[in-house]
Subunit: 434 residues, 2 copies
């Protein structure tokens, strides 16, 4: 029999216990913050109908989507007729499923609706260092309100969540507005049909630098427009007041968001005229979270007032953001968070004859609220102590024939190596930490 | 533009907030019990290479698997050459990925290794009531020990987890042993090559009843063998001692498991000679969990000492079990668990001018540990109170211009309708529950 691979497919990952414990802790901390901000958790399926994922145009997203093959007779039929071979696909973000969900369930939900989601998404991108084909997102969205309070609440929630997850250095929120950007592009003389291409060029600013972006803008629309854009956008991207006259309403919205967020945490949000955020469904404010210790962002979001139209609904004002969980974990790991906590004690098993006694002692300790690892088997105590060390347990408990006859157990402190005898019915006291 | 579907694909589900809160609570309760039993959480990817999922034979599992189409040039090449169109697939359980994981990482893990996993699995089965194509499993496994203590620990952990998840009526564990069953089948004169077919017939006992199963066994191996099987297996399936002589070692193992489990919880585990459990990788004890209020099982597992061989490893003794999370939730919902808890308070927003004051009050309350829903917008207070009712908040907080000038807020108890004035800096006291 030929051997099967033991690694997951390229771009997919296994998680070892320490990493998994860190992920679970961070995810729970984020969920608790979202709940504390009044967001209600929802969930959708990992799998969507392909037309939902492809949207009207298909183009942009199509390359991202892992498609699921049709099955059985439908697959055979498609093969014979040369029809579509796939009918389903894996979701590539949590926002599109949310829009579908809201169009279906909106009438039964509170209005406005504050939702959060935690889950995996999949993108069929080329796997490379730090970029995975399966990764997790933690989204918070408010559907049904056009108030800048939504942006402020969501930005504050994410800043609080980063802190709760254990990030020592607070990220900063960078805010822009699509309408303001559009006005500046027009002002510089860029034809409307070149907006998308200009945004693609601007979006590379962090990666390629000013020179390269100016070059691309020149190639796109000539040197005069590129010069104007450089002057307006690239030279002082943080100066909101200078650009405000091109779209006063959008500028006022950004100013309000910054004021509300910075009112809670000084200097936690700044304006940048060159922030783009890739998704084309954003209609107003956009923002992302940056750490000085990470290129790229820790997450981001924005206002998307028209996404529900795709599902035949009325346009509904909506705003949301996503934490890039994998990038957050990367930072947390760099900060060297402690490894997974071990159990309070490992209860050893002296012999096959005495395993019921150890099982009972373990059950009593667990019932008292302790995390107790019962050694799964029997064998030399030395090996069992090594196991207890490997599991980072605080204590090892031994119940041999002499101990059992005397109604006692030996408790070994694994840090100091000290042992003491304890009555079986006061074991819980003995393994108390500290 | 044609309208997109707002429902998820057939067999897939959306979860509303109340249902999602119940699921999150149950999952966290189960994870806590697993941790308290010394299991360490691990995770693998949702997607595996197809050969890993298909195994050597393919046959049995192939129908279950959602296959992911190749992408780009590889897909074109496969289409032209008539080759395989899919290269990846969604996992259909958590045990096979665990075996792969252990073969890859085993040398760096504690030995024996106690692992737990929580996650979605996918099966391309016909969608029907109560059967989903995406569902969650909560697995606990011990790899590297052949002690019956493993089965006892795992069964105890699952019984404790069911209780912790909130199930009022405790399920019972039903235990059998594949080697014992095999010995009884041989004793009855069934040829070895018909074992699998006989197990398929026996597995239907709960669904189709004794008559139908006897009929199938007769058709399979003649009336004499069927008569013997009925006498041995179907007439008194709970009588372990009667069958013990056909495989004394396996019977002793079952007896030990029952004794250990029942020593902790009386009558929580019983023997049944007709328990099969579908998966063909089980090599010894098998068990499942049954509730009188549910046909079928709440989960199950068994010993699978040879699964790692598929990945070229040595055979490693292993034992594990899975909670059928969807079925557990079905029971919890039938028991009518309370709906999602609301926030401690909704802080209303009196006007656009005063939203910063409300945002600050909300931030202070959240900082004090309360779950606070800030109304996302402004508008009539009446509408905001209705929103607070819909969110099941305990209190609504109003900060109007008069209140703000006096450094106060109005706190409305939403259950009684009573209002009182509270100093802004002692708001936290006022929204304390009870």
């Amino acid at each position: 029999m030929s051997q099967l691979p033991t690694a997951p497919p390229s771009g997919f990952r296994d998680f070892l216990p320490a990493s998994c414990a860190m992920r679970a802790r961070a995810a729970e901390a984020i969920a608790q913050v979202y709940r504390r901000f009044g967001f209600q958790q929802i969930a959708t399926s990992a799998v969507e109908d392909l037309p939902v994922l492809l949207g009207k145009g298909g183009g942009e997203n199509e390359k991202l989507i892992f498609k699921l093959m049709k099955r059985g007779a439908q697959l055979e039929e498609a093969k014979t007729s040369g029809g579509e071979l796939a009918d389903l696909g894996l979701r590539f973000d949590l926002t599109l499923p949310l829009a579908r969900y809201y169009c279906r369930h909106g009438s039964t939900l509170p209005h406005p609706f504050k939702a959060f989601q935690m889950g995996a998404v999949w993108r069929a991108e080329r796997a490379q260092k730090g970029r995975y084909r399966e990764f997790h997102q933690c989204d918070a969205d408010i559907i049904g309100s056009d108030s800048p309070l939504c942006e402020a609440e969501i930005i504050s929630a994410l800043l609080t969540a980063f802190e709760a997850a254990g990030l020592r250095e607070a990220p900063q929120a960078v805010v822009n507005d699509r309408e303001l950007l559009q006005a500046v592009l027009s002002e510089a003389g860029l034809p409307a049909e070149k907006t998308a291409a200009a945004c693609v060029a601007l979006d590379k600013l962090d990666k390629t630098g000013v020179e390269a972006v100016r070059g691309e803008l020149e190639a796109l629309s000539g040197s005069e427009v590129a010069r104007r854009l450089e002057e307006l956008l690239l030279s002082k991207p943080g100066d909101l007041e200078r650009l405000s006259r091109f779209q006063p309403q959008a500028a006022a919205r950004v100013r309000e968001i910054l004021s509300l967020v910075n009112g809670l945490r000084a200097d936690s949000a700044v304006f940048s005229a060159t922030l783009i955020r890739g998704f084309d469904y954003y209609t107003g404010p956009v923002f992302e979270f940056r750490s000085p210790r990470l290129s790229g962002s820790l997450g981001g979001g924005g206002r998307y007032d028209r996404l529900t139209e795709k599902f035949g609904g009325q346009p509904i004002p909506a705003c949301g953001a996503s934490i890039g969980f994998e990038r957050l974990l990367l930072l947390l790991e760099q900060e060297g968070l402690e490894t997974a906590p071990g159990p309070d004690a490992v209860v050893t098993v002296f012999s096959e004859q005495l395993r019921a006694a150890s099982l009972k002692a373990a059950a009593a300790l667990r019932h008292a609220g302790y995390a107790i690892d019962l050694y799964p088997g029997a064998g030399k105590l030395k090996k069992q102590f090594q196991y207890a060390d490997a599991k980072k347990a605080a204590y090892a408990v031994v119940i041999g024939p002499d101990e059992l006859a005397a109604g006692q157990a030996t408790v070994k402190d694994l840090a100091t190596g000290k042992e003491r005898s304890v009555a079986l019915d006061s074991l819980a006291e003995a393994v108390k930490k500290g």
